[in-house]
Symmetry: D2
Subunit: 381 residues, 4 copies
């Protein structure tokens, strides 16, 4: 619970302390009269990136902390829980409800990160330990991939369903779409293996310039966690045979983009993805299934928008027209990252089912691939 | 003509050889029967980034070449010119005309880069040599900045005027715009100085996360080439007093974005900029003026869209819907850079007047600022 | 027991597994018939630097191992201990005795490293946890420092006492010494503080060129673990007031050398140190005292050669004339490090008392200072 | 004359300006009444490493200077020469003579560096230009290598011949030597090629730990400037066939040391080398021969101590007992480098004949190999 294998990864212990700090700093500290922090120094240690809330411990040094111990962090959590319960019994206004819901959604995000970070930590160990029994390799059949057509025009995207959402999903706004086609399901391991065997990683014409540079520098020749023979992959259950039917996973944006070009297609825009996906129920192989690994979903029509793998879109993460970040330090939550990252949609097998929405915008840098990230193709008409 | 101060910069000699190579490799080599390259080895030395055209000399090593000498490069150019003349006398079809025009536009881009690269090289020298007499400091009055309103709706942007344009300006396509306002002129040095004096570089809430990180790491406290006292700037004419009325220049995207946030505004989108700018003639302080430095432009209404400074937009550089790159190796010209860069519009005081268009899309990484880059504000209604 | 704060530091768990592996690999594996390794994969994980014994896990990645757990490592140790006991009951020849003694001395070295590495890990934590109660600040009086003179001539140094020693202490050989003087005790914290207050870290003429470069780059202005006010230091007992009388500690060679120059003196050579120190009993504040921190030693004459702080000498670590490393992989133990490092003598407050000898040669790179390292002055006559 | 291929290398133009500055700063500025510097700013640009003489331009940025031009530097030189002539006509005291001689010897050192730096610059160019006609490949026969024995005892080394020498060659002092043998000539290309073909670069047991690390990281598999086939080498005359009989050249200390271990020998100590070499006249293939490349020297007995290649010794560069650096800023000339470097003896084919002495101590870091550096073997008896 202590190890950090790269700056992107945080120790499990840190995640636990940080989500507790989030409640303490932004709710208890501001709304519970006379609240005394569990330990003043945690404000420095467990602030992630809220510069306007104070100084913070450098991110790449999170794995250097032998203290507080796991037991002390659990005590911290209990302390925060107890005071949250007390405060919850006294407040029921809408602003407060939003704050608590934000804290819970924040925690759900870190639940997903804990899983992906543990996977990275375990994979860095030559012993390749398993966190749980390996997921089944033959978990079903993907069914054929085809393209479904949708009409263009002025569409509206963004969240206005009245429930909780992050600031970056708003405001609901108009956008212009040309007619387009979108693939009925994500790209499978077998399809991606064909790309590799066709020399995909050796063909510069398929790659963005930055992507070509990264795969040379990092010597990438396959998705993260695959072996060189393209036969096995490391999972939260240890190494196992690759399921050819399951959605391909742990791709960078560069790889998703190169595959799409090789396939004579492209990635969908955010708007294309959203107008299609919101017609389907939010259900699928999400964290609640307990699989913690992508699985094929049978069928024929458009499907599998939620769960399994986050789907890279062609959309650079940017503010929606009229975007206003939350007030105060919480305004740093999403808005300040709106540069040089790409949006992903739909949630993964590590996303809590109650956390995802059609309008949900996740975002990562194009080289990052330790999340459960895959792709779905789209085409012009 | 030999020095390279950072990987982004190329030696003057290299620019000269590279633009010659472009004609040799993509026109003479493919269209002039029996053409023999001036020196086979130049194919390696002066290929910039066309992976599909062969191996190339590493970009950061361009400044390590004492040979070919300047005289040899000029001979190379004469050789290419002579054969181009011969070929031009035998071909007048449209495809060929496009190729030659592309070669000339390519050369115009490098004419601008030569100026900005020489400026960087000279500025790196503690002696701060001047390339030419210093531009006048009091070159006019900027006039007041206000905002002009424009209606939204479905607009068309992209090039379809029938003349030459780059592939990245096409296809002409529809886009949705909300009503918006755009500033009548670029931000001036004096206005930017006010931002600095108001603590702009010390206020994390104004900055994108990546930008805040860069200004800490690089210890940026003012535009490139300004002194710490905010009184003088290095120009192609050496160090001189900052002209308070002239457009602010040599800003990164991060700085442009932070200024806009401080000013309660934002950067314009590509479509907003284009639909306004195309109503004005393509004229201004471009390279042909010989000033090679931004100057204030008097007046009151919307103005100064072309020349002086490239204007950062809020648009991440991405393919237009339906974009198709040029065929073959020339497809690497623009398309493969469509990730993690931001679009700039309008040309600068170093851009040849015949090179710029309302639909022209320049692009740089958000941290880059050695070009003549500034900004114009925009607002929602 | 898992954290690695820099490549020089190893996790406590790694130390424990590595010393066990040393017995397994070099004794059980070669001398106990039919011995089966506890886990074949540990040969890769816990080999430190014996290239001729096989591939190994990269040193900077030792802190990325969540497995084997501490419990598994303790099982490993028990397994090795049990088989060592069995083997010990069947062998009593001299070669075998040497090997076992080497294994035990190797373990003693790692006992010291565990303490210095834990200190580094704890110091990297903003909470500055204590491993044990803080050592007393006023632990005695250093007594005056003076210089004692010794005659030169042909001397013999190196080990020939018949007991165990490392290969690098041999062979006993002749060396020429001029008459010299050596300080009666190590330099104290108070004396070093005077050097700092006199501008020692700002005076380039006092420093080796490499040292000046390091203190600029690393922004060193005081010994490791001191605060900027020169009032407190981090110890294995947490932060406490600096004891002015105790030997100064956690200095790099560069700092020891600069202090000596400032003091109008120099560091002793290995031979000078050894011919003086061997006249004294091997006793002092070594690990067995339980202080784990340097203490002043009262008195007047030459003293305190053993324990408290390793004393940097002026000697570059090099083979003695006629040096022969141990045969086989154990030849990699010492000999291959005989370049670019400096020799230290006398042991520290973290060195087991049974481990140190007058002829003992410890060695570190001149920039390293996380060991308990100090200095004693010397002078020409 | 402008290019710098690595921090160790300086542009030819810089060398020329720096040696002029040395005369200006340390002689004219302090001894010629009313002398006005040619350009005050050169004090910053052309100070190499004399911290006590003022701030200086960062070494790795020497190749970024387009100004002063070569013509301006030659004017600078003429200015300094003219004032030196004037001053020389008025002073003939011993202190002054020493200073001028020091300035001349300093310039001789930079004459050698110009050659080795130009070689490095030209070799970095894929065109591999030649500075002059290639040296003959078959320039003679090396003659057999054998070992000559010498008796040990108390010897004296260091300079006391009354002529000019650097401070680091003094004082003359006693040292103890055991009986030893030294090779009659340097190791040849053919002998080194045998080492490579015998797997020398793949055998960790032959290498110092730091050396093994460097050859892995840098992917060294042969001397600098050799091709992978071990057939050709880059010379100041361009690429040519390797002369099997000539002394091997452009080795790091690590490679020299590994070869010696492979050959069952070792490198000589400084004292061993000096007591043997001083019995021979200072003559050989030095810069004055005009070959600028090592050549074989026929014969049978001990020979070839001077010229051809600097010979790595086993001696870490350290102060001689009783060493006192020059007073003032000139004390920074040699003394502050006495750490982590190894001593080389005898001069090379790029060393001016009037510059070298038996007591001369050159020094480089063990990984450096762009000088003309080779080795001679030695053995215990």
């Amino acid at each position: 619970m202590v190890i950090q294998t790269m700056p992107d990864v945080s120790p499990t212990k840190w995640h636990l302390a940080h989500v507790s700090w989030f409640f303490e700093r932004f709710i208890l500290g501001e709304h519970l009269d006379g609240y005394r922090p569990f330990d003043q120094r945690y404000d420095f240690l467990f602030n992630s990136y809220y510069y306007t809330a104070g100084q913070m411990h450098a991110r790449p040094r999170r794995g250097l902390l032998s203290r507080p111990t796991v037991a002390e962090v659990l005590d911290y959590r209990a302390h925060v829980d107890e005071h949250m319960k007390r405060l919850l019994s006294t407040r029921d206004d809408q602003d407060f409800e939003f704050l608590v819901t934000l804290g819970l959604n924040h925690e759900q995000q870190h639940q997903e990160l804990m899983l992906t970070d543990i996977k990275h930590v375990f994979a860095a160990n030559p012993l390749e330990p398993a966190w749980r029994p390996a997921p089944e390799t033959r978990a079903g059949v993907a069914g054929p991939m085809s393209f479904a057509g949708f009409p263009g025009g002025v569409v509206e995207i963004g969240n206005d369903d009245g429930g909780f959402c992050f600031d970056n999903e708003t405001p609901r706004h108009r956008s212009w779409l040309e007619d387009f086609q979108i693939a009925t399901r994500p790209v499978s391991n077998d399809e991606y293996r064909e790309f590799i065997r066709d020399g995909g990683y050796q063909a510069p014409e398929l790659w963005l310039s930055d992507g070509w540079s990264v795969i040379q520098t990092e010597d990438w020749r396959q998705p993260l966690y695959w072996d060189l023979a393209l036969e096995t992959e490391f999972t939260l259950g240890g190494r196992r045979e690759i399921d050819p039917e399951a959605p391909v996973c742990h791709l960078s944006y560069y790889e998703a983009d190169a595959f799409a070009r090789w396939a004579g297609a492209r990635l969908p825009t955010e708007a294309e993805w959203e107008v299609v996906a919101r017609e389907f129920p939010v259900a699928g192989n999400l964290a609640d299934s307990g699989a913690f690994h992508p699985r094929p979903a049978g069928g024929t029509g458009p499907r599998q928008f939620f769960g399994d793998v986050w789907e890279w879109t062609a959309g650079a993460y940017a503010p929606y027209p009229g975007f206003r970040p939350l007030a105060g330090s919480l305004g740093e939550y999403n808005g300040k990252f709106m540069c040089s990252q790409m949006v992903l949609r739909g949630g993964s097998c590590a996303t809590p089912a109650g956390h995802i929405r059609p309008s949900y915008r996740n975002f990562f840098y194009p080289h990052q691939r330790w999340q459960f990230t895959g792709l779905r193709l789209a085409r012009d008409v």
